[in-house]
Symmetry: none
Subunit: 242 residues, 2 copies
């Protein structure tokens, strides 16, 4: 087999198994509608226990990528959501897609102590400094988003990186940190004075608040990102199938 599982890796076996299955399905080694090998054999092939394998399969079943059936086996669901539930574009790419030329300004990098909320997400203590990157984007006279990213110390960023490069490319190539999972929360809010000044809008104007929690393969937190978008400058679109 092309891919395999590394028992020495810090990434949990079930997580490795999960991404491995994803890859095989994506590459159509396991094709749409095809039944995959039975659990006992597959576990043996991957050199993990059946229980661990089942953890991985369970997740994919929950996502709807796989369907279990007794006696018949577990098959790849071709109705497949394609799970490209969009949005693995970084922001600059998103905007280019809309034909809007965007500039970065007020790019600012510092080391800060995390607050409770962030320390909690990162699973670190509040006295452990983290790298914070802030930036404002838009046309210079018309900013439309302010956002702040915080990076887990584990990633190993020094603060001297070229943050004009696409972020996920930088992480992947130079730090071999692979972001595989993101959870986002989108809500509406009234701009406080800080945000209002950054976006050059009146206090209390509506903004779209977008929090993004990014994880690596082992589901370990690696980045926290908050963005404040001027109302109407950003529309979040989601497509989902059943």
């Amino acid at each position: 087999m092309k891919y395999s599982i590394d028992h020495k890796s810090p990434i949990p076996l079930h997580a490795q198994a999960e991404t491995l299955l994803r890859q095989l399905i994506a590459e159509e080694q396991f094709q749409n509608g095809m039944v995959l090998p039975n659990e006992v054999d597959l576990a043996k092939q991957l050199a993990i226990s059946r229980t661990t394998l089942r953890q991985a399969i369970n997740k994919l079943v929950f996502e709807g990528l796989l369907v279990r059936k007794k006696r018949t086996g577990t098959k790849v669901s071709n109705a497949a959501v394609s799970s490209k539930s969009n949005n693995w574009l970084s922001f600059s790419q998103e905007m280019k897609l809309r034909g809007i030329p965007i500039k970065n300004f007020e790019l600012h990098v510092t080391w800060v102590f995390p607050d409770e909320y962030l320390a909690n997400f990162f699973e670190i203590k509040t006295d452990r400094k983290v790298l914070k990157m802030e930036r404002v984007r838009g046309k210079p006279d018309e900013p439309f988003v302010y956002f702040a990213s915080y990076f887990h110390p584990r990633v190993g960023l020094t603060g001297d990186e070229d943050f004009k490069r696409p972020l996920y490319e930088l992480l992947e190539n130079d730090y071999s940190v692979i972001a595989t999972l993101s959870k986002e929360e989108i809500s509406a809010k009234a701009a406080d004075s800080f945000i209002a000044s950054k976006l050059k809008i009146p206090d209390g104007s509506p903004v779209l608040l977008r929090k993004r929690f990014v994880f690596d393969q082992g589901e370990r937190p690696i980045e926290y990102n908050v963005g404040y978008y001027k109302a109407d400058s950003f529309i979040y679109t989601v497509e989902s199938t059943r």
Copy 2:
């Protein structure tokens, strides 16, 4: 304990444990934000193994109802109402899952001529009437969402249906219309006077605007839905993997 687990029941123990936890949370035996007993003890109390208990907890964690944290314990997520992509719970169902009792009021059904925008989406002419359903939801003294749904004439609704029933169930059972695809747009906006009065908030307050375009199996448009959510009463969550 009021409820307990029956080892002789044909219902799997982990499933029993799952519903039991749901009940306890709904009844606020385990309240919002409260940490529940540690796994070892809880398993002992319920007379099931820790692993089995974890199966149950895992599901609720996946749903977002519980949050695990090392050393601290597992706590009930008091997070505001959220909506996951890729699952097709209608709004009332989402709320029930979290044990929040929600009421519909100001339910209102009329026939209207579509504007250009809607006619365009439905691919019909503007002189063809469509069914419009409006409603406000929340606690009676505290509305937190106003929304309007428009249904394509093709669906065949008469206006006399019981709109208190879950919508997709109604469409599926009584009209054999199966909604399989939805596209959503989420943005922030300032409430105009109409929305402000419906939600009992000041003019210009921020609201989350959610437009939903629903299609049937043949990708034909069947519903257009606009919702205005009071800021902070609704968080839209999206999870995506790569």
